[in-house]
Symmetry: C2
Subunit: 619 residues, 2 copies
């Protein structure tokens, strides 16, 4: 069989298998798979360098389906490559199968989960950055994108960053099949429109018929020969190509082909072609950065004041000295988050992502695919911009570290647009997450160090203003723990804060002591996981709990405490102090007073809670 | 004074006032204001049509500072226009002042809050769409953007949609001052780069020196004469222009000018120029769509089954018939969310936003600026994409209605990327929000109708699969209420669900009754505001509460219940059933069983809770 005949037959098999598995499942996206089948046939048979028996080979190429709904095509490729059996293919979308509706890394050949459109390409940029600047290996990153998803701004962040970084190891294959879920895309088959935009950004482009094998071959060959710029293969394709009942017809998105048997006949029946996918030739391992091994964290003197955000920067730089696998990213606010300290010390491992938080999150996900430890920082408020990327990062089982600075009303004059007031809620409600919120510089440094080897989405919240250093640099702050800062057998109320509100709680406890009310004070620096045992003890020992947080009341520290105590026999009355009205501009102290989370407000709440409890405690 | 001399003097005054107010405040962004001062001087003096005494005039132009940190410039313009006093200007950023660090609609001339970069232009697209397609008035929308924010993908969603919609009533003024917060932007003063990208999208562009008054004048004149396409004035400017100590110098972002008096002298002192801003000439009111007035909601028969998402579509269409002010938007999934029913019935009031959820949220915010009632729909999961836009919409005091369909693991086979499992947490933690989650079609219809006149961010969560119709079409479901579906004096446990879990709870209650355990069942369709009184009654009447939600445990229904009961004297033990492990593909029923939120899991949890309580209830 000639090369072209083989590709032709392979493309048809990929179509047939896409139809078969989605028909067996009773759901899925065969037509979106069929448009890209010829493109992927040529890629698999000639251009991809991948050792399916050794997915951990650092020299392997990376193939990301940004259009994750074309999973039938991806799984059909795996079967053709001999990676999965026909039986497994036909278990698509059933309970227990690794072949989920949209790809996830439960399959060893899948780097990241896709299925929320517009994310695969930005993540591919991250992998390609790792290839160029970290691993320094010649692997290529191939990203198959849909055309509907080109409406997502995140794709254009990715196109811009790829060009800016000269990622000639990245090829985007644009499957322009004209039809979205509900109708035609904005630009239909106007390939020139896409090419024009991409050229203006600095990409190499090739406009081809995505079913013409010679053109596909030539375009891929051109792409891998390109230096200094990324390449886009812009392919005019037919959705549902090869089966007349569905080809180029609206209303055929996301459903099995009606008469599967007839469709398979029309495609030429069920071949059983195997592809020997070329393995990468290189054997070199990834680049490793020099590092000291021993970690010397910054130390801050008790009684002085320091910003926890500054301690984040100091500790990150120290960590970067100790370990070569730590890298940092920032969204053009590195002089606010203090990641600039790392950037100046280790410029080779610092990534300036400009004001593109989606691309920043995606790049972190892409970089961790290759085992690096990315710390990404921005204002806590602006991480809301990347919420969908962080949600998907959890599905990718990604290990990324995120720092959100300028948390809460405590930033002061800049006003609510810059205040992170929902970040604890968002990050708590992220699967695999850890949520940390230190109150002093030494505690921050210890937590930053622990983040490195903690799996999942690990979030650290920092504060803009200087806060008192209350802990020794030798103190230990295990994730999942808390610190009881005031405690006596006479305690009648427990004050629970984290970050800035720890200091307010301490001041409140001092004032309450003057009134004869003994208050326990807990520094809940680890909000998730939470020290439920310490909270239960406090709930048993004291009649009332006051939680204080610089955050909206929903989903934050207070609700985390309630949740930890929910199933408990002995429950305290819990009073939640949180930000309830929309703040404006004011000084940090004025903000906390206005929000009712300052020492004065805590004293008042504790007083009321204790007095209301008194009669009942005579029970 | 010649026109040019006047503009020149006005520009200098805007600079001086930017310096004065930020110096008085001790914070702010004078240099980012100074770069755009000449552009805004010409706009204010010659092109803007705005009646400052009547901000509600529907014929007024709209001026949006997408670079919200340039608020000193905006407020300086207000002073020049006579809208605010010098005294108010100098109160910038102080407690109680309307002149916040970043603009908010607490000022009557500000349409929307900005300050999270990359949002003003997408919102401007929404206002311009309202002007063209809804109001049908000749007002113009002027948006001042920074250059750093051009790295945000949302800006490119906006550029694309504006061109696609032929928004010749929109002018973007790009203040290309080269310097971001930490250094040079990706493209510096490469105006051609921006022009190339914009031309490729279909914008009219003019590249000018942003300090050359004749060029500015010509570019604006050209922009307003353009038909069929939006215009971009791409202006090369100098950050800190006019004051040598800061002009075009890195490290001068976001801080007052050091020697303000010297800087003011360098700018020519303190003039006191007033501008008579031209009022709009037209007097026509906005277009009004024909409507019936009377609302006839769809009715579903008890005992049948229907998707709540379908009921959303049916009810929205009914509402659109009754009221001319209701409009709909969707992100290219209208056949899944069922907004297509509205789209087909009222195409003039339907906006296809394609797969660009950020632009969709922004367009809704822009459209509500003009008093329309936008309902925007997508999958619950994909609203995470627009989280920052919804956060900012709350700061804008926007009134928008959002529908998130395909909630929870109950979607089944598509897998976790398509499952909204954090939406309740996000929307609860949004200021001004309402969170609704109906379990049947009649309830959905009633809630959809109530959303129209409810202020703030109003969120409705719908389900993919058909659920039993259990309520009469005549039943009333006030926001803030709940429904007690099972109740007896013997109740020992309360089951609280919403949406799909209501049906699981009902089945569980039936099974528990068979075991002699009487269970109260509450349908908590209004999660925020929450019916705390009914919850307190249940907590007092029964020994245990089981909450069941198709959502992560953090920030959802369970924590909302805990929060409502937190301060209470009598507390029940609360057991929270929620999705705790990452789901994969499976049928809806298999998913709920695997997550432990099906009837069987509820029965088991209730049994354990009641048995554990028994000894104590002998107290």
């Amino acid at each position: 069989m000639s090369e072209h005949d083989f590709w032709r037959a392979l493309g048809q098999q990929l179509r047939v298998d896409s139809i078969r598995c989605s028909s067996a499942a009773g759901s899925g996206h065969p037509t979106s798979s069929m448009s890209a089948a010829d493109l992927m046939a040529v890629l698999l048979a000639k251009y991809l360098r991948y050792d399916f028996t050794k997915p951990e080979n650092p020299q392997n190429d990376h193939l990301i389906f940004s259009k994750g709904h074309a999973s039938p095509l991806l799984y059909a490729m795996y079967r053709a490559a001999g990676a999965i059996s026909d039986e497994e293919l036909l278990g698509y979308r059933t309970k227990g199968s690794r072949l989920e509706g949209h790809p996830t890394p439960r399959l060893p050949w899948v780097d990241v989960a896709t299925g929320s459109l517009g994310q695969g390409l930005p993540i591919g940029v991250g992998v390609a950055l790792a290839g160029k600047r970290l691993d320094r290996l010649p692997y290529r990153v191939w990203v198959l994108t849909g055309d509907s998803e080109l409406a997502e701004g995140s794709m254009w962040e990715a196109f811009e960053h790829a060009a800016q970084s000269g990622l000639d190891n990245l090829t985007a294959v644009l499957d322009i099949n004209r039809l979205g879920q509900t109708g035609e895309t904005m630009h239909g088959w106007n390939l020139g429109y896409y090419a024009g935009r991409l050229k203006a950004i600095g990409w190499h482009t090739a406009e081809i018929d995505g079913h013409d094998l010679a053109s596909i071959d030539a375009a891929f060959a051109e792409a891998i020969s390109m230096t200094g710029k990324p390449s886009a293969v812009i392919a005019r394709t037919v959705k549902g190509k090869g089966v007349e009942a569905v080809a180029n017809k609206n209303g055929m998105h996301g459903k099995p082909v009606k008469d599967a048997e007839a469709a398979i006949r029309e495609l030429g029946g069920r071949p059983n072609i195997s592809v020997t996918v070329a393995k990468p030739e290189g054997t070199a391992g990834p680049h490793r950065f020099d590092a000291l091994g021993a970690l010397t964290l910054p130390r801050y003197e008790i009684g002085t004041k320091e910003e926890t955000r500054k301690a984040y920067g100091d500790a990150l730089a120290a960590l970067g000295k100790a370990r070569g696998d730590v890298v940092a990213l920032d969204g053009e606010v590195s002089n606010s988050t203090y990641s600039e300290i790392f950037a100046k010390q280790s410029p080779d491992r610092y990534f300036e992502m400009y004001i593109a938080e989606q691309q920043m999150a995606a790049a972190a996900v892409g970089i961790q695919v290759r085992g690096w430890k990315p710390y990404a920082s921005s204002f806590a408020a602006f991480w809301t911009r990347a919420h969908d990327f962080i949600r998907m990062a959890a599905i990718s089982r990604a290990n990324i570290k995120i720092c959100g600075s300028h948390a809460g009303v405590s930033i002061g004059e800049d006003g609510p647009s810059q205040m992170g007031l929902e970040d604890i809620a968002s990050f708590r409600a992220t699967w695999s997450s850890t949520v940390l919120y230190p109150c002093d510089a030494n505690q921050t440094a210890r937590l930053v160090a622990q983040m490195a080897d903690r799996d999942g989405i690990v979030y650290l919240r920092t504060t803009r203003e200087k806060t008192p250093v209350i802990y020794s640099a030798d103190d230990d702050f295990p994730i999942g723990g808390c610190r009881v800062l005031r405690q006596s057998p006479a305690d009648s109320v427990t004050l629970i804060g984290a970050g800035v509100t720890v200091h307010e709680a301490l001041e409140a406890a001092d004032r309450l002591a003057g009134e004869g009310i003994a208050a326990r004070v807990i520094d809940l620096y680890s909000i998730k996981p939470i020290d439920a045992a310490a909270l239960r003890t406090a709930a048993g020992d004291t009649d009332a709990i006051v939680t204080i947080e610089d955050h909206w009341p929903e989903g934050g520290l207070g609700e985390a405490v309630l949740s930890a105590l929910a199933g408990d026999e002995a429950q305290s009355r819990v009073v939640m102090l949180a930000v309830r009205e929309m703040p404006a501009s004011a000084t940090p102290a004025e903000q906390r007073a206005a929000a009712g989370i300052d020492a004065e407000s805590i004293v008042e709440a504790a007083r009321v809670a204790v007095s209301r409890i008194q009669p009942a405690s005579a029970r």
